[in-house]
């Protein structure tokens, strides 16, 4: 079983959505536990998980499938999405806004009452397996006119909003994931919460729970707290010298 710690009522909502064959959208900042949650749910439901991480060169055929060459000429190879639709399972499309525009269109007939996947290239129409669950995620952090999720796509999904866990929960997550002592964990979380205050004014991306866990792992390994924070919390976030100096001050406040 994955060691996921429940934040609020997300498990219940997820369960209710899949009972009704509704697709899910999870939004939240980087590294706040979206992927972990989906893994946890797939395990709980005992269904296979197909994860697709999107990038800007990902096209519809990467999801749906393509023709490949075998020894007897070409044959059709299902993509991860098609596989999940046929056999049933959780298909998790991570950071969907990163993908090309045509990929979201493929999802449309799957995400409404039809629950079908038309394969354009070989003329097949697949009806989704009863255990098929579609989960997509995105990070609404940056404002980009041309990279937002279209409203017509957004409103097809039951939406869950994730944020960084509350202080006590985050401390316990860090302790659990890294087996570090509670004092260091709470200092790290306190520091991270201060750095998060700078989001949008001085730094673009905030300290994720994942970064705190990395830092804790480094400290556990014998690195000094200052160095660990510098390399895991500060340098990944900013290139501005002045900001780096200020953040180092924050670290010195704790260690």
């Amino acid at each position: 079983m994955t060691d996921y710690q429940v934040q609020s009522n997300e498990v219940g909502i997820f369960q209710a959505a899949i009972d009704n064959h509704l697709p899910l959208l999870i939004k939240g900042p980087t590294g706040c536990g979206k992927t972990k949650f989906v893994e946890h749910m797939a395990e709980k439901l005992k269904r296979p998980l197909y994860t697709i991480a999107c990038h800007d060169d990902l096209s519809a055929s990467d999801l749906v499938g393509r023709h490949l060459i075998g020894k007897d000429g070409t044959f059709w190879q299902d993509g991860p999405l098609t596989k999940a639709v046929r056999e049933g399972g959780v298909c998790y499309i991570d950071e969907i806004v990163e993908a090309r525009k045509d990929t979201t269109v493929v999802l449309h007939p799957l995400s409404d009452h039809r629950r079908i996947l038309p394969l354009e290239k070989n003329g097949e129409i697949i009806e989704a397996h009863k255990d098929f669950v579609l989960v997509v995620s995105y990070n609404p952090g940056y404002q980009n006119l041309l990279k937002g999720l279209k409203p017509s796509t957004k409103q097809r999904f039951v939406t869950l909003e994730f944020d960084y866990p509350k202080e006590e929960l985050e401390i316990s997550i860090v302790c659990q994931q890294t087996a570090i002592d509670i004092k260091t964990a709470s200092q790290l979380v306190g520091l991270a919460r201060e750095i998060r205050n700078l989001k949008d004014s001085d730094i673009n991306e905030s300290v994720s729970t994942r970064l705190i866990i990395y830092t804790a792992l480094m400290i556990k390994n014998g690195l000094s707290a200052q160095d660990a924070c510098n390399h895991c919390l500060i340098l990944p976030l900013t290139d501005e010298q002045e900001t780096i100096e200020a953040l180092k001050r924050l670290v010195n406040n704790y260690f």
Binding site: D56, D57, S59, S61, R66, H67, L68, I69, G73, T74, W76, K121, Y142, Q143, N144, L145, L146, K147, G148, Q187, G190, E194, I195, N197, L198, S201, D202, E242, T243, E245, A246, L247, R249, L250, V251, N252, N253, Y254, F255
Partner: protein, 606 residues
């Protein structure tokens, strides 16, 4: 000779009575940027400015030597209000430079917390306790500061209230966990450099509404822009108290009392700065603005010989009347203007570092490689489409597009930057900077950055005097290269008149429409709602602007508004849609945010 001796004496005597280590001095100018980040991280309000504070008079008990030297009377006290944080302009408290630096950060940490109670000593004790309990590293720094500081505290004779008070303060510094009763005395306590003080501790309080005026206009000391003076309100409410030494009957014309604003005297003599420094209190009249408040009048246009060059006789544009839901045909006269007398100038030196940084970022844009699949011709084979072709066995050769084309640049964007240069941009954002200065800086940086991206761009400014003249100031058009001539025009931008936004947007739409590019971005920089002297104020103006934006959208233009009006959330979603605007909290950030925003908006186009 007398002067020389006096100076030497002053130096000797002040050195004897003050703890001041000039060699290890740390200044706010050096630390300011870092302190601001640090302050925000610890929970300080992100809209706060960090400024230098002025010395305040504190009536402490002084030693006779101090009395002779004339010091020990004024201290740099750290305080904050709703506008910002006021820290000492320099700290030379300790012989160790590191400690002076730590003291700055300590003060910023203290100020970033919410005030917990009104009593200065108790408040500081509690804030200290909060900080050192949650921050073990800071605790170490704190006690290091306290240990050194205790050696510098005044030594009073062992009997008397002052002694007891000082002992109690020292005990509280050493052990902030324990709440002590501090005896009050005839004197105020000797200020503790580790503590923060309320803004109005030692003088009259300043009303909220009037304080805004104060910060907006206190250009008393221009050079030391970050210094804040103690202010005291004088009672001038009784307007009948004016002294009239002649008989009213002897007047040939009528007149009324005019409250002149002497604070903005531009012909300051050089000495006024030091005079202001010596003054403990600068008195400001409370109703300074009263005379001009209620009157609205049409501003006369400048005389033609002083005005910018009008280009042609102007264009007539329609305006939307929301009441009748129809256009008023040819209602607005848009007059393109050119400041032809502006002298070419280079980029102001304070913007060079920012511009260089952005130039690097933007120069990558134009050579961003992009791969297009399924091309007739290209540098690589597109395996996907080849296999697809093999599988479906096309006979039609036109479908045999089996190549990937590496095109160097696919950017096809043109941008028009339209900025508000109405009189409202004359408002101050800090003691030395006005909104218009921020806008000017941002246009400079934006243009510097964009010339590297090779996206065609144009810059216009607008202001208006009713519908009869909407001044459409040309700063750079599409065909002209970005040069010193353009920089000169940017430098020459001056605020004036009102904000008839709709007409300016329509004119920009017309220009942008003619651009051959696929994507067209209309960036609008504004500082508030549309308004003008006629009915354009209020709903009429908002509706007309909205209509103009809808028209632009229909013509395939992407309008985007960037504003410094913090209340813009009330009306911008209605005007631009929920996604198409951005609010900048600190106008000073505009010059960095604007190019960044452009990058963000357009980066995924290629």
């Amino acid at each position: 000779m007398e002067e020389f001796v006096g100076e030497v004496w002053h130096k000797i005597i002040t050195k004897k009575t003050e703890t001041n280590y000039q060699d290890s001095k740390v200044t706010l100018d050096d630390q300011g940027a870092r302190l601001a980040v640090y302050y925000r991280a610890l929970g300080g309000n992100s809209a706060h400015n960090i400024n230098g504070c002025d010395k305040r008079v504190v009536t402490t008990r002084r030693m006779w030597l101090q009395k002779i030297a004339g010091n020990g009377r004024k201290f740099h006290l750290t305080w904050k209000n709703q506008h910002g944080l006021y820290l000492p302009p320099y700290i030379a408290q300790f012989a160790d430079k590191r400690l002076n630096e730590n003291l700055y950060y300590w003060l910023a940490s203290m100020a970033a917390q919410e005030t917990v109670c009104d009593n200065i000593i108790e408040n500081n004790r509690r804030l200290t306790l909060q900080l050192i309990q949650s921050h073990p590293g800071l605790k170490r720094q704190y006690f290091e500061l306290v240990d050194t500081l205790l050696t510098q505290r005044p030594r009073y004779p062992e009997q008397g209230d002052d002694y007891l008070q000082e002992q109690a303060i020292q005990a509280s510094l050493k052990n902030p966990e324990q709440s002590l009763l501090i005896p009050s005395t005839r004197f105020q306590h000797h200020p503790v450099p580790l503590w923060i003080y309320p803004s109005e501790a030692y003088l009259l309080s300043v009303d909220d509404e009037t304080e805004e005026e104060l910060t907006g206009h206190s250009d008393i000391i221009d050079d030391k822009k970050t210094i804040k003076k103690q202010a005291q309100r004088i009672d001038d409410e009784r307007e009948t108290d004016g002294l009239i030494i002649f008989q009213l009957e002897s007047l040939f014309s009528w007149s009324e009392q005019v409250n002149l604003d002497r604070c903005e005297d531009e012909t300051e003599n050089e000495d006024s700065e030091s005079a202001a420094e010596d003054l403990d209190i600068i008195s400001l009249a409370k109703k300074r603005k009263a005379g001009s408040a209620g009157i609205k009048f049409d501003l006369d246009l400048p005389a033609p010989e002083n005005d910018d060059l009008p280009l042609g006789s102007g264009m007539k544009l329609p305006e939307w009347n929301y009441k009748t839901k129809s256009f008023k045909k040819d209602f607005c006269l848009v007059q393109p203007m050119l400041s032809d007398e502006a002298l070419p100038c280079p980029l102001p030196s304070h913007l060079k570092p920012t511009a260089n940084k952005l130039a690097q970022l933007f120069s990558h844009l134009s050579c961003n490689p992009a791969r297009i699949n399924k091309q007739q011709d290209g540098s690589e084979i597109d395996m996907d489409s080849w296999m697809e072709g093999l599988a479906s066995n096309f006979k039609d050769t036109s479908k045999q597009n089996f190549f990937i084309n590496d095109k160097k640049s696919l950017r096809d964007i043109s941008c028009l930057l339209l900025t508000d240069i109405s009189l409202s941009t004359e408002a101050h954002v800090s003691e030395s900077k006005r909104v218009i200065d921020c806008i000017r800086d941002s246009i400079f940086v934006f243009s510097e950055a964009l010339q590297y991206s090779q996206d065609p761009f144009a810059i216009y400014g607008f202001s208006s005097i009713k519908n009869k003249q909407v001044r459409y100031q040309m700063i750079k058009n599409y065909s002209e290269p970005y040069s010193d001539q353009v920089r000169g025009r940017i430098q020459a931008i001056k605020p004036g008149f009102y904000t008839r936004m709709g007409a300016a947007i329509r004119q920009s739409t017309l220009l942008l429409e003619k651009q051959p590019t696929k994507q067209k971005l209309l960036l609008i920089v504004s500082d508030g709602k549309p308004n003008d002297l006629d009915q354009y104020e209020g709903r009429y103006g908002v509706e007309d602007t909205r209509q103009a934006i809808l028209e632009a959208k229909q013509k395939g233009i992407t309008p985007f508004c960037i504003t410094i009006d913090t209340k813009a959330n009330d009306y911008l979603p209605y005007l631009f849609g929920s996604q198409n605007f951005s609010i900048i909290k600190r106008p000073q950030d505009l010059c960095v945010e604007l190019p960044k925003l452009y990058l963000n908006l357009t980066s995924s186009l290629s």
